[in-house]
Point group: C2
Chain length 414, copies 2
């Protein structure tokens, strides 16, 4: 895409009321727009980035048998009353409103209830199980505070997968598979080395849930990390008893601040029993379905990537997440030799199907380089006076700063 | 995809409370789930269909220079007060709720206000114009009645594009381009022959707006069609004066019921003035930006396609919209020769990258054919006893009912 056509502009200063590093940088770079505290819109570069993250997660969920659907935001009060999660005394972060046609409704905070009800239409026999269904959908949570940018919004995108199994063995097999899929997601998103499977409180149906915690000073959680085993324990369950159960040695654990990038939970029959999701087993007996839930927030993950990888000059995107792989920066002016060379390289890259942002603006080199650092594409290709003379281009790795000279052919082979 | 893996099941009867043909068929076929009146979830086949419609619209919006973004659902009361569209006396279909952190908010009914505000950060000179920005995003409208299935929901998906121009000439040029893009969308979605550019009331800034009305008995609008010119007039502006302005002859017009599939509107400076979206022109003078808006509801369009093309046996999807192009129906049972042949053809089609739903279930032929008619893929390929003997397969065109015998090679070349 030609940058002269992109409607967003960068800005030097972040809004004064924005305290989170991720939102400060994303607003400055024109990736997002702050609507209100904890409410953001995603501008073209931000949406492209978000869509790359969504695609990574989608591929990994499909690979373990997930079937994608999308449920409504508006929720049925009667349904949530049956599981006792409607009352504000029980769940305190609903946005509630009412229908002009009569009756209350609320904005989905999560989707166990509606999906369990949907499944009662489609699951009746052990032959229908297991089922894994997931969605990318906006959740609404009426948070009192919103100071973490896109890492904790009042409206945010969630990938929530739910598993439906006939028994614990079927549930456990998938739960282990989901863990591996999650680790692949974080690795592909560029934060794998900083993300740990972390044991946290589990609820009624299992002793622990599993969180995926990414080390970050901006994190709201405290975890204890065993670097060798690549496991951690959340402070909420950190005790001698927990450590001995998990076979972890207190001496080897290091306390760190971290942010929760995902979680997986055994729901047992918490929702299937009150909502009547049962199946007939091999012997003809009626049993409640065993459920699990598996969450990753793509918008939060985008924020985590910024917090973890950005530097003082701006954003730094990993290859699989970047809105464009290359930032082609022309130091020429309309019509000159440098511009013509840059135009030709842009056409070549586009013909090859490479995602490239082309800074074809008439602007000073210093301004273009500062913008390029702020926008954070993995590689910057500079077309300058030198390129016209020698036919070689400066290629700068945004993450490492390493500069190489490459010919047109070498760039097209990258 | 193997149908034995698909979690949704078909059903013989539609829910008793569902009066719209589109929702009755889509629920029976397992494409959607009704959450509440006017609120639907999209199950795997429904989401695939919806995504095809979205992709058609996206391609056509990109082709005329649209830049995609996505805005929030939660809206800023202060912003909407500035354009006098917050008050329930002025706009009567808001869902309103409040923040626990204080203050009211509402769910986006449309997005002129937030996008105009976003543009004040990015547009300042005539050089920044024109800009065309669009999104696919859920709108929420607190409708009193919801009897048209997915054609009129309380929560529904909208593609809304907004144009920002420096003067009327720039606006008019894009407006004409958008009309052509819209006609391409409806043609690709299979309802082009039944959809007419229709003049409707325009507002302050132009005499008429343009609607895209699709002829349907389920329509809520009355229009007067000039078949030769492929133009129509909405009953709301139907008068001798209108006809003479548009150069239409009353004698040639035919009254029809129709449903609005899209609309385009000249907004003039209705939003740019109160929200301060101005630019500096070539002479240094400050002027308000001229805006337009351009809407198509992908969920409504999906409903319109069903209303228009479905028959008494079930859904009928056009090629570009169908969740799968082929429905491969095996009449064999696990392990027999027919099954093996069907498995092989399925593998061949998948290898070729063709979207195919494979009915590999152990079920009676009659049940499979009824399901296949209900699900509505454009072509059904039947693998039966005959196929094993002759190597040829029955290929049934869902829309026309035409049956052909084709060899494996011929099917792979389709």
């Amino acid at each position: 895409m030609r940058q002269s056509q992109l409607f967003t502009k960068t800005r030097r200063e972040a809004p004064a009321d924005e305290v989170a590093k991720n939102a400060q940088l994303l607003v400055r770079a024109g990736y997002i727009h702050k609507e209100m505290a904890g409410v953001y819109s995603y501008l073209p570069l931000g949406l492209r980035t978000l869509n790359r993250i969504i695609q990574i997660i989608r591929e990994e969920m499909d690979a373990i048998g997930g079937q994608e659907l999308v449920m409504s935001a508006l929720q049925d009060k009667e349904l949530w009353s049956r599981t006792d999660r409607w009352d504000d005394a029980k769940v305190d972060n609903w946005f509630k409103t009412s229908f002009k046609s009569g009756g209350e409704t609320g904005l989905g905070i999560t989707h166990e209830e509606p999906l369990t009800r949907i499944m009662t239409d489609h699951v009746s026999s052990y032959r229908d199980l297991p089922v894994y269904a997931y969605q990318f959908q906006n959740k609404f949570r009426n948070e009192l505070r919103a100071k973490s940018g896109i890492m904790r919004g009042k409206e945010f995108l969630m990938k929530d997968l739910y598993s439906f199994s006939k028994d614990d063995a079927q549930h456990d097999a998938f739960y282990a598979k989901a863990r591996e899929a999650y680790l692949r997601v974080f690795a592909r998103a560029g934060v794998g080395d900083k993300t740990y499977v972390t044991f946290a409180s589990g609820g009624i149906f299992s002793e622990f849930s599993e969180e995926f915690q990414t080390i970050s000073d901006a994190g709201e959680d405290t975890i204890y990390v065993d670097e060798e085993k690549r496991l951690a324990v959340n402070a909420e369950v950190y005790s001698g008893e927990t450590l001995s159960k998990l076979g972890l040695d207190k001496e080897k654990l290091v306390e760190k601040k971290a942010i929760e990038a995902g979680n997986t939970f055994n729901l047992g029959t918490r929702f299937s029993e009150p909502l009547g999701l049962t199946y007939t087993d091999e012997t003809g007996a009626k049993k409640p379905v065993i459920m699990g839930c598996y969450g990753i927030g793509p918008t939060r993950l985008m924020g985590i990537i910024v917090e973890t990888l950005a530097d003082e000059k701006g954003l730094v995107w990993p290859m699989e997440v970047a809105p464009f792989k290359y930032h082609l920066v022309s130091l020429g002016h309309e019509g000159d030799e440098i511009s013509k060379l840059a135009d030709a390289l842009y056409d070549d890259l586009k013909k090859k199907g490479v995602d490239v942002l082309y800074d074809d603006r008439n602007a000073r080199a210093g301004e273009k380089f500062a913008d390029s650092d702020l926008l954070g594409m993995p590689y910057r290709i500079v077309v300058g006076k030198d390129s016209v003379a020698t036919g070689s281009f400066e290629v700068v790795n945004r993450a490492t700063g390493v500069v190489e000279k490459k010919s047109r052919a070498e760039i097209l082979a990258m």
